[in-house]
């Protein structure tokens, strides 16, 4: 790691979920955009505290569902009416009625896939490594540590002012620089 490399950002540790929530509100109001909160368990109200908007993952689900439904209908129409007409049980060659259960299942299947993969895509996952994982104290994020990380890529980031902001305004227990 060369000395000239730009740091990834800052990591601040907090004592309690309440302190973390309070700090998150301050970060939100300070106008940071590239930052995140890390805690061992979900904290109710944190979405609002961070000012998070609704996840766009629902649009992936919707697109997946629509694809699944049309695939099911088209597939059965093609197979049973267009490609190889076959009368089964005296029923019409094609009707949305019996194509519905299959289309419905495909709606759910592709909707679920789209949700999962849309979520991974939006989270830029999977990835093999993250700079935060180099920080020793960050291990406590899965046990009893409460953290806020602010990336240096944030337009409002400044190595000194942001460190000051986290330790003084946000009452962080400790603030450390995270190398890229």
């Amino acid at each position: 790691m060369s000395a000239s490399s730009k740091p990834y950002g800052l990591l601040a540790e907090f004592e309690t979920p309440a302190a973390l929530m309070d700090a998150a509100i301050r970060c939100r109001d300070a106008g940071f955009t590239k930052w995140d909160v890390h805690s061992p368990f979900p904290i109710h109200g944190m979405d609002d505290a961070m000012g998070l908007k609704k996840s766009p993952v629902g649009w992936f689900t919707f697109a997946g569902g629509v694809t699944g439904f049309t695939t099911g209908m088209t597939m059965i129409w093609f197979m049973n009416k267009a490609d190889y007409p076959l009368v089964v049980g005296g029923k019409p060659l094609f009707t949305p009625l019996y194509a519905f259960p299959v289309s419905y299942e495909l709606t759910i299947l592709l909707g679920a896939f789209a949700t999962l993969f849309g979520m991974l895509f939006l989270n830029r996952l999977p990835r093999l490594h993250h700079p935060l994982l180099k920080v020793e104290r960050f291990k406590r994020a899965t046990d009893d540590g409460f953290f806020i990380s602010i990336e240096s890529a944030d337009p409002k980031f400044s190595a000194e002012a942001t460190r000051q902001f986290l330790s003084v305004d946000c009452h962080a227990n400790a603030v450390e620089t995270v190398e890229e």
Partner: protein
Amino acid sequence: MKSLFQNFRVLVALLVVSGLLGWATGGLQAADAATTNAVASADGHAHGVDGHVHAGGEPDFLAQIGYSYLTAYMFCLSLCMGALFLVFLHHLFDASWSAPVRRVAEQMSAVLFPWMLVLLLPILALQSKIYPWLSIDPATDHSLDVKKILFNRIAFNVLVPALVLSWGLIAHTFRRWSIAQDKDGAAIWTKKSRVLAAVGIFYFAFSLTLGCFYLMKSLQHQFFSTMYGVYYFAGSVWTTLATVWVVVLYFKDRGPLSQVISKRQIQDLGVLFFAFTVFYAYIHFSQYFLIWNAAIPEETFWYVGREQGSWKWVGFTILFGHFFVPFLVLLNQDVKMNPAIMVPMAAWAWLMHYVDMTFNIMPVPHPHGLHVTFWDPLFWAGMVSVLGYFFLKNFRSAAPYPLRDPRLKEAVTHHEVPAPGATVHH
């Protein structure tokens, strides 16, 4: 309690009188019906429509009134039973979010007694005009003969009022315990309600199915569908959730619930409404699909009759209006909290559920197509107004939410996060 029993005595007397009235009119028509039966059974499949429909296919005056009234009654029963189910649901799941909205549901279901029982009287009085099977001799009709253990005049006149009465008593028990807790805050009321809910939900499911069989499905007594009860239930809860959504928001804006209702309750009610949109479609599709797939005449005639004339378009209205449109509109999360969409949606749900009830009942007197009479909106609006009045009266008689419910604090403690720009103080 004393006045309740006094009401009760008057009610029993009224029930007996209307039952006898119905019986008497049935006797008068027996001769008329016997001839029609002969024709119907010669036809192979008696299609529900019988002696009370004139040669031209138009029902006589009293029969028309009876069917219009029954449609309105089934609609209103939906709201009561849906509300009762929400109370059940709250206790069954030991839910916390629904504690502040539970009183609304309790008061809504409490109109079951005595008002839904009182409103049942015209149906009992007109029973012979409404239910063709009551005038059919089981000896001449195989499909009635095999069902005569339930479909006989005595069972009908005893069980239907008994069912409505039992639902009313359950609703009143829940409400009484809930209000008792307002005073002493004792946990015993919650525990008792939980036991009643756990045991009662089985009774609720069976009795609602039986009630639907008697009041609606028996209009065409030849029909088979074990899903019929859950089909009515799904539509009922759907309509009720839309109603409760609007009522709760109204009381939140008007004051009584402003302290306890937050975004969470509104959203959860919206989510449940959406869920029941899907559930109703699932159930109705399943009923249709199984019958369509098996293609057994004893079952298909019910839907075949509902594809005659304009009934076909009523069916499509239900398919799109009861499911596809609400489904697509409600998909988005934010919509479920937006009154500008949800209030019209609730009005739409009322219309669709009424159309659904019409689709179930009206093909019997009007087999050739949808036929709206002056009586339909009259009874619908009238009954809703009367019950709405008593609901409001109930609602004012006690606290607007369970004041000392052990789960209330949990439900109303929402996480107040200051809006962006607000200063944080230490």
